[in-house]
Symmetry: C2
Subunit: 449 residues, 2 copies
C-alpha cells in the first residue's frame, strides 16, 4: 500500500521524501516509508523522537513542511556506530549465517494499530517483520513464511497440526532451526502442542511474540525476535518460548514449551517457567547461557511429526461451591477426556450434593479419563497426603497430573487420546514424560522464577 | 483419648510418665502426653530429637524402657533460656495482653496424621492448637472456639456466612482481633468472602493455616499462629491471610484477603499477594512493618455483617478449543451469574462454532451477568486494546473484571447478586471497590512478589 494520490502529490510538490524529517503543526519526526502499518492511505505516519509512531489524517488544511531542526544527537551517534559495526560484521559474519526459518502465525507481534479506532489487528507478514528488524539478516540466513493471521485465542488443534508439519518440513529442507512468531495469549498451548507433535526433535523450535505491537515505542518484538533467532541457531533442540526476562531490554529467557505460562496480561516479562528452570538465557548479542541441567541437544535425525489428536477434551475448574454435574454434561456432549484443575494437592469438593467424587467415578467407569492438575500452578498434585485425595485417586481412579501445567495436561490428553483409547494406556501415557512435561525433582528456587 | 489399658499398665509398672525420655528398640525420645494426635490408643508416640513424632504400635513384644541418655544439649539450653525469659515476661506482659479470639474451622493446621495409613484428617480443636503453641498465651489473652472440622475444599457460602457472623460477634464482645485457622487450599476463597461480608471492618481478621501438619518436624503452624496473633493485635483492620513469607522461619506476610492466592501446592511460602503488595510483614517477635500504602486502620465502630449471597454462580475457563455451550448449560441449570477466566487481557475464542461471543451475548440478554477475568492472574483485563476484545465488552456487554482475581470475582459476584439483580446495578457493583479487590495502580514489582 502507498500513500493516497493527494499525499503523494503534496510530498512531490514540496520535495519531501519518505525517511526525511518533516513537521505537521507541533509534530515533528521522520516520515515513515509507507502507510502499510496503519491500514489507511489517508494518514501520514511520523516517527517521533521518543520512538512512538503517530498517524495524522491528511486533509487540504494539513500544513506539511520540511523540518530544519537537526535530528536529536542520539540518533546521529547511533548511525555512526552502526556504520562501524557493519564494517566489522561484513568480515565476521560472511561465514556464519545458518539458515533459520521464520513462520508467522499472527498475534501482536504481527499486529498494527488501526489509527482510527486505536485497536490492534493481526496483519503483518513474516516479510514485514523481518523488514522491521534488519539485524536478523546479519545473524542468520532468514527464510520467511506466513502461515495465518489468527490471534492466538483462536488457534486450535488443526492450526497446531499444520504448524507442526510446516515446522518439520522447514527443518528437513535445511533450516537449522525454526522461529515461530505467534500471539502471546495462548502461545503456551501451541508450544505444548508442538512439543508432543514433534517427537525426538533434532533442532530448536522457538516460539516468540510481543506484548506490545511493533509500531509502539515500548515494543519488545525486535529483541524477542533477535534472541529467538540466536536460540534457534544454538544447540538445545527443544520446543520453547523465548521472550523478555526482565522489564528492561537486557536479555530473554528461553523456556521449555511444556513448562511455561503467560503469568501477566501486559508486562514484557510475562512468560515464566513453571516447575522448571528456563532452558537458557539469551542475549541480543548472541550470548547463550544454559540454565537447566535437563535438556535435549541437537542431533542429525530427520524431524518427524506425530499429529494425531482428539479435540473433544475439556478443562474445567473445581473450587468451593463448584458444579460437578459439568462432568456429566461434557460426557453427554461427546467429550472423550476431562482435565479438572483442582485445588492445591489435587483436591475437589467432596461433601454431599456438591461432591465431585461420584461424577468422576462415573466418568471413568464409562471410559472417559479424568486427570487432575493444580490451580496453584506451582507444585504438584499428590494423591497420598489427605484422606479425601486417596478416595479421589484410589477409589474413583482419577489420574493425578503430577507437576504438569493444566494447559499442558489439556493438550497432552488430546494428543494421547489421538493415539490410545484404553484407560490403562491413557493413564500410562499421561504419566510418561514425552517432552519434559513431568519433572520428578522440583526445587524451591523454581517457584516464582 | 488416653493410651490403651495395656500401655497404661506397662507405663505404671515401669514407673514411666508422659514427657519422660524413653527408649523402644532403636527409637529414643520424649513420650508424648497422649495419643490424641494419632487417633489410636494402641500406638505409643515418641517425639524424636530431630523434632519428628513417630508412632509405634504396642504389642506384648514391645520392649519399652526408660532412657538414661541425657537429653541433647540444645534442649537443655532452651529450657534454661525460657526460664529467664519467663521471668522478664512476667513483669513486661502483665499489662499488654489484649483479648484475641481464635476460631478454628479445620484444615491441615488442625490435622493429624493417621499413623496407620499415613494420611491426614482435620481433627484438632482450637484448644489443641493453643496447647501446642504455648507462646500465644504470653502475647495475648486467647479465647478459643472450634466452629467446624471441614477441610477447606468443602467450605461453601453457608460456612462463610456462619464464620462472618461468629467473627463479628467476637469483635463486638471485646476481642481486639480475630484469628481464623483454616485449611489452605481454599483459604483465599474464604478470606475474599469475609472481606465482602464484613463491610467497614473496625478490627483485624487474620486467616492462617499450615502447609505441614502440626505434628511434623517441618511444621509451619506455630510461627504462622504467633505472627497472626501479632497481626490481629495490630492497627491494620482488614481481612487478610498471614503465612510464611520465605522457606525459612524468618517472618510472615499478611496479605489482603481479596488480593492473595495459594500459588504453590506444598511450599510454606505458598500464599502470595497478586496485583498488590502485602499489607505488612510480621515477625514472630511481634515486629510489624507495613508494606502497603493503601490500608484501612482500626476504628471504634461496631462490626457489622452483610452476608446476603447468591450461590448459583459459576467459574469456567476459556482457552483454545474450549466449549462455549457450557454457558447455555449453566443458565439452563439456573445459574445466576458466570465468571469466565479468559486469556491475558480478557480474550475468549471468537472463531466460527467455537466462538464464545454469541453465548455471552445471549446470557447477558437473558439477564445473567458475565464477568471476564484473566487466567494470567497477574495484570488486568483491558477491553480497549484488541478488536476482538471490543466486540466482547462493547457489543456483547461482558463485564471486564479489571485486576480482580478469578477467585475474588467469583465470591464477589455471589455477594453482589445477593443484593441486586439488574444488569446495570451488578455491573456498577462489580466495578466498585468494596474491599481492596480493585487496584487502579499496578506496579511491576507486584509481579511474582
Amino acid at each position: 500500500m502507498t500513500y493516497s494520490k493527494k499525499i503523494t502529490a503534496t510530498l512531490k510538490q514540496k520535495g519531501l521524501k519518505e525517511g526525511q524529517r518533516i513537521k505537521i503543526g507541533v509534530y515533528e519526526g521522520l516520515l515513515m516509508p509507507s502507510p502499510e502499518i496503519t491500514g489507511s492511505p489517508d494518514y501520514l505516519i511520523i516517527k517521533l523522537d521518543n520512538g512512538y509512531n503517530i498517524g495524522i489524517k491528511y486533509t487540504s488544511k494539513t500544513k506539511l513542511e520540511k523540518s530544519n531542526t537537526p535530528e536529536p544527537e542520539a540518533i546521529k551517534q547511533e548511525y555512526l556506530y552502526e556504520t562501524m559495526d557493519q564494517h566489522v560484521e561484513k568480515i565476521e559474519q560472511a561465514h556464519s549465517k545458518p539458515p533459520i526459518a521464520i513462520l508467522a502465525v499472527g498475534g501482536t507481534i504481527a499486529s498494527k494499530v488501526d489509527y482510527k479506532t486505536g485497536a490492534v489487528n493481526a496483519k503483518l507478514t513474516a516479510r514485514d517483520l523481518v523488514r522491521m528488524v534488519p539485524e536478523l539478516r546479519r545473524i542468520a540466513t532468514i527464510k520467511m513464511d506466513t502461515l495465518s493471521e489468527v490471534m492466538s485465542e483462536d488457534m486450535n488443534h488443526v492450526h497446531w497440526q499444520t504448524l507442526a508439519k510446516e515446522t518439520a518440513k522447514q527443518l528437513n529442507q535445511g533450516a537449522e532451526g525454526v522461529v515461530i512468531t505467534h500471539g502471546t495469549d495462548a502461545m503456551h498451548f501451541s508450544s505444548a502442542a508442538l512439543s508432543f507433535m514433534l517427537p525426538k526433535l533434532p533442532k530448536p523450535v522457538v516460539f516468540t511474540g510481543s506484548q506490545r505491537s511493533p509500531d509502539r515505542g515500548s515494543a519488545d518484538s525486535s529483541m524477542n525476535l533477535i534472541c529467538s533467532v540466536h536460540a534457534a541457531k544454538n544447540d538445545v533442540a527443544e520446543v520453547g518460548i523465548c521472550m523478555h526476562a526482565e522489564l528492561d531490554d537486557n536479555y530473554c529467557i528461553y523456556s521449555r514449551g511444556t513448562k511455561v505460562r503467560k503469568m501477566h496480561s501486559t508486562l514484557r516479562k510475562a512468560f515464566r517457567p513453571i516447575n522448571d528452570y528456563p532452558l537458557a538465557k539469551v542475549w541480543p548479542s548472541g550470548r547463550f547461557q544454559m540454565t537447566n541441567r535437563r535438556v535435549k541437544f541437537r542431533s542429525t535425525e530427520k524431524a518427524k511429526t506425530d499429529t494425531k489428536f482428539e479435540p473433544k477434551v475439556a478443562l474445567i475448574k473445581a473450587y468451593p461451591g463448584s458444579e460437578p454435574k459439568l462432568i456429566d454434561y461434557l460426557i453427554k456432549q461427546g467429550y472423550k477426556g476431562i482435565i479438572i484443575e483442582g485445588m492445591a494437592l489435587g483436591h475437589v469438593p467432596t461433601q454431599a450434593k456438591k461432591s465431585w467424587i461420584p461424577h468422576v467415578k462415573k466418568a471413568i467407569q464409562s471410559g472417559v479419563p479424568v486427570i487432575v492438575t493444580t490451580q496453584c500452578y506451582y507444585g504438584r498434585v499428590n494423591p497420598d497426603v489427605y484422606t479425601n485425595l486417596r478416595i479421589l485417586y484410589y477409589e474413583a481412579e482419577a489420574i493425578p497430573g503430577a507437576d504438569m501445567l493444566s494447559e499442558t495436561a489439556y493438550v497432552k490428553l488430546g494428543w494421547v487420546l489421538g493415539h490410545v483409547k484404553s484407560m490403562k494406556k491413557v493413564r500410562e501415557m499421561m504419566l510418561t514424560n514425552y517432552a519434559g512435561e513431568l519433572n520428578a525433582r522440583l526445587e524451591p528456587r523454581m517457584f516464582l522464577y
